[in-house]
């Protein structure tokens, strides 16, 4: 009997058109706890180094965790784990909506997808049954059309559809997988991986539910979480959505603007959460089981950017299609977001690729000859929206933009290097490492999937947010030195920030709930209470920490095996130069190396390579990941 988990893994081979159901081993699962922890083990062991991310041999794991689909308030997530075609690194993309919960109700914790179908297919998983069905009629359709067609065809309005749009079919290197019409497993190009496998969609529904080992105790722990979240420090997330951050970040000079050339945007008040709420919001929308509802539906009623009701935009997207491109027209931003939703594009990489092109145009590195006669001027919303279309179809200049910032810069030569804002090929999200937080600067440098502020945590919680998230008792340095400090303390702190975040990742929880202090968020200690009552496993916070550390180390090992070392843990050059204007004028990153040293040391990793030592891996019971060389 399984509590908390479904207890099964589904393995689908698209080449042979066969699938098999595997029982999970309880001890092995508990060692990694689930979700990305277990997925890291699967991919490390089953996907040898050097496999092309778009080759048939590449594998994809859809993963849920213990709290996915439960009434734990953060339980709406699932993660897609794979090797990224954009970066060549480990990647995981989290998404909310109903997909993860329904996959579990259908009877599976994990789906491993292998091989490549001859013709387009989709996978239909419902109540323990699995079908691989023809998808020729869906190929070429966008996300909305695909979702609606499948609902009609399968005659079930309650299915959850995770699908790619044209961008994934066309192999845009940052194409997303979109579930429930507007929730994106966005970063790193999973959409292109699906496209390369001729896999259009995965469809799930189930009525199996999740059994609880100790229901009364579980209800009490959830009630405690509900109470604690009433004191949540980032209370604007529920009321304004994440877009509420636009005004705040601008006033602090941490709003990335014009491809990170600046950190302050004159017209930020025209694209604020308040304006979005007042003029374009239809309603607030939650992921399955979520008590915050950060999501919202918006639309533009008329005009050249008329947009039907859609999910979004959230903060990252508003910055990317707004300040990053110099655009102050919220309607153009909403339209661009909509196009990303329906074509299946990562809004961050799309916006950054356009911002990069605009800077290159400003500097004369791209001319109208390259751009089909279109001037790529800062602030031109119309051109921006047109570019999104072109990227999705890889048409004209869109073909060039579809490769992402790193490859574009390589083609344009050294002069473009300065404008290439990425780490390991992943375009940076909308947070400024020079001014927001120096722990964030470190995270950008070392994050397994490249320049990422969210996996496994929002690094700024500790010094910018002044939040310990329940980690003080594990030894997290406290109080934080000021935001601009770049001493070894930052490196040590990041170990705790990362491991705390990784606990959410291995539980299948949304990260938003773990930012606070005891009594105002779901701390690792409270997660341990919840998971114990749910699974009957009597898990402690220490055990969660250890499982998180395993997962964190395995991802590093995955990348190490692909040839990544300390020299890849670096920031774009721009961040070593001072911010030119705004409230954060003069700030820069000067001492990344000291923070790196301290971080590797705190992790028990080799300082020269930045990779886990054999001793560390032995200590964690990960002997299989010790490299022979």
């Amino acid at each position: 009997m399984w509590y908390g988990f479904a207890g099964k893994l589904l393995r689908v081979n698209l080449t042979s058109g066969e699938f098999k159901v595997e029982e999970l081993d309880k001890n092995e699962l508990r060692k990694y706890m689930g979700c990305v922890g277990y997925a890291a083990k699967l991919l490390y062991q089953e996907m040898p180094a050097g496999i092309g991310p778009l080759a048939p041999e590449a594998k994809v794991v859809l993963a849920t965790g213990a709290v996915t689909g439960t009434s734990c308030p953060s339980g709406g997530s699932y993660e897609v784990c794979y090797k990224s075609p954009l970066t060549g690194t480990w990647n995981q993309a989290r998404s909310g909506g109903a997909f993860g919960p329904k996959l579990k109700y259908a009877g599976f914790d994990f789906v491993v997808i292998e091989g490549k179908a001859k013709e387009p297919v989709y996978i239909y998983i419902h109540d323990g049954k699995v079908e691989i069905k023809a998808a020729k009629h869906l190929w070429g359709l966008n996300v909305e059309e695909t979702t609606d067609t499948l609902i009609r065809e399968l005659d079930d309005p309650e299915i959850s559809v995770a699908t790619i749009g044209q961008a994934g079919e066309n192999g845009v290197l940052y194409a997303a997988l979109i579930n429930d019409r507007g929730r994106a497993a966005g970063r790193g190009g999973i959409g292109a991986v699906f496209g390369s496998k001729n896999l259009k969609a995965v469809v799930v529904n189930g009525r199996g539910g999740i059994k609880v080992a100790r229901p009364k105790e579980f209800a009490a722990a959830i009630e405690k979480a509900e109470q604690w979240l009433k004191n949540y420090p980032l209370s604007s997330i529920p009321t304004l959505g994440t877009v509420g951050l636009v005004s705040l970040n601008n006033s602090l000079g941490i709003l990335p603007t014009k491809n990170f050339q600046e950190t302050y945007f004159e017209n930020a008040d025209q694209i604020s959460g308040e304006v979005l709420n007042r003029k374009y919001q239809i309603k607030r929308r939650a992921c399955y089981g979520c008590s915050f509802a950060c999501g919202r539906y918006t639309s533009v009623m008329s005009g050249k950017y008329a947009t039907p009701p859609m999910e979004g935009p959230e903060y990252e997207t508003v910055d990317m299609f707004g300040p990053i491109c110099g655009v102050d027209d919220l309607e153009a931003i909403i339209r661009a977001n909509y196009l990303c939703n329906v074509y299946g594009l990562d809004t961050v990489s799309t916006g950054m690729s356009i911002g990069f092109a605009m800077e290159c145009y400003e500097k004369g590195l791209l001319t109208e000859k390259d751009t089909e006669g279109m001037p790529l001027r800062w602030g031109d919303g119309e051109v921006m929206v047109k570019l999104v279309e072109k990227i999705a179809h890889r048409e004209g200049i869109g073909e060039f933009l579809a490769q992402g910032v790193k490859r574009m810069a390589e083609q344009l030569g050294p002069a473009a290097e300065e404008a290439a804002i990425h780490v390991k090929g992943l375009e940076l999200p909308a947070h400024e490492p020079r001014s927001e937080s120096k722990v964030l600067a470190l995270q950008y440098a070392v994050s397994p999937r490249g320049g990422c502020h969210m996996h496994p945590n929002w690094a700024s919680t500790w010094d910018f947010g002044q939040l310990d998230c329940g980690m003080k008792e594990f030894g997290m340095p406290w109080p934080p030195k000021e935001i601009q400090d770049e001493s070894p303390q930052k490196g040590v702190a990041y170990r705790y920030v990362a491991l705390q975040g990784e606990i959410s990742e291995i539980l299948g929880a949304c990260i938003f709930y773990s930012w606070g202090t005891e009594g105002s968020c779901i701390t690792p200690q409270l997660y341990a209470e919840i998971v114990s009552a749910l699974t009957g496993w009597d898990v402690t916070a220490e055990e969660l920490m250890l499982a998180a550390e395993r997962s964190w180390n395995l991802k590093r090992c995955f990348n190490a095996r692909e040839g990544f070392t300390r020299e890849h843990d670096k920031l774009p050059k721009r961040f070593t130069k001072a911010i030119p204007n705004g409230p954060a004028k003069g700030l820069k990153v000067v001492n990344l190396d000291a923070m790196l040293d301290a971080y590797y040391e705190a992790m028990g990793w080799d300082k020269a390579t930045g990779n886990p030592t054999p001793e560390k891996l032995k200590e964690l019971g990960l002997e299989f990941a010790i490299m022979s060389s």
């Binding site: 999740i210 509900e226 915050f292 509802a293 009701p309």
Partner: protein
């Protein structure tokens, strides 16, 4: 004065927590398909919680007399000794909130949790409330009227 469940779809975010709490309370599991409150979430942007209004139409069609009104809460409740799972009640329910539970094979419906509804206590948006009857009635009139008015707009 008796209390009733009252819903306000305009506040609902479609989170399904009410369904989760209902199944957790009734069966010790988390399973929206074993819930007595239903959240109809459709695209784009439709979220409507649907609950039993305790009208009692089902009482009359039950061949075994398994459905009766609880004196204290005024909820229609299922007598587990008498229900044979024939499904007559589900056929007659005007809003489709009665179901035959797939495990117990008996009729399952909202019993107002004996007077302390789990769904209402845990709805994070206050979209389901347990209110005195006349206030709940006023809200229902409003919803009924608006549902019809929408078509004219």
């Amino acid at each position: 004065m008796a209390k009733m469940l009252m819903v306000d779809p305009s506040l609902c975010t479609g989170c399904h927590r009410c369904e989760m709490w209902c199944s957790l309370t009734k069966y010790g599991e988390i399973n929206p398909s074993r819930s007595n409150v239903y959240v109809v979430r459709r695209e784009p942007a439709v979220d409507v919680p649907v609950v039993c209004i305790q009208c009692g139409l089902c009482i009359n069609v039950c061949p075994t007399g398994a459905l009766k009104r609880d004196k204290k809460t005024m909820a229609v409740v299922v007598d587990k000794e008498k229900c044979v799972g024939c499904g007559m009640c589900t056929n007659v329910c005007p809003i489709g909130v009665l179901r035959i539970d797939k495990e117990t094979k008996m009729a399952a419906k909202c019993d107002l949790c004996g007077g302390s509804p789990a769904c209402a206590a845990h709805c994070p948006q206050n979209a389901i409330r347990y209110e005195v009857a006349n206030k709940a009635a006023a809200k229902r009139r409003e919803l009924w009227a608006m549902a019809h008015a929408v078509r004219n707009r």
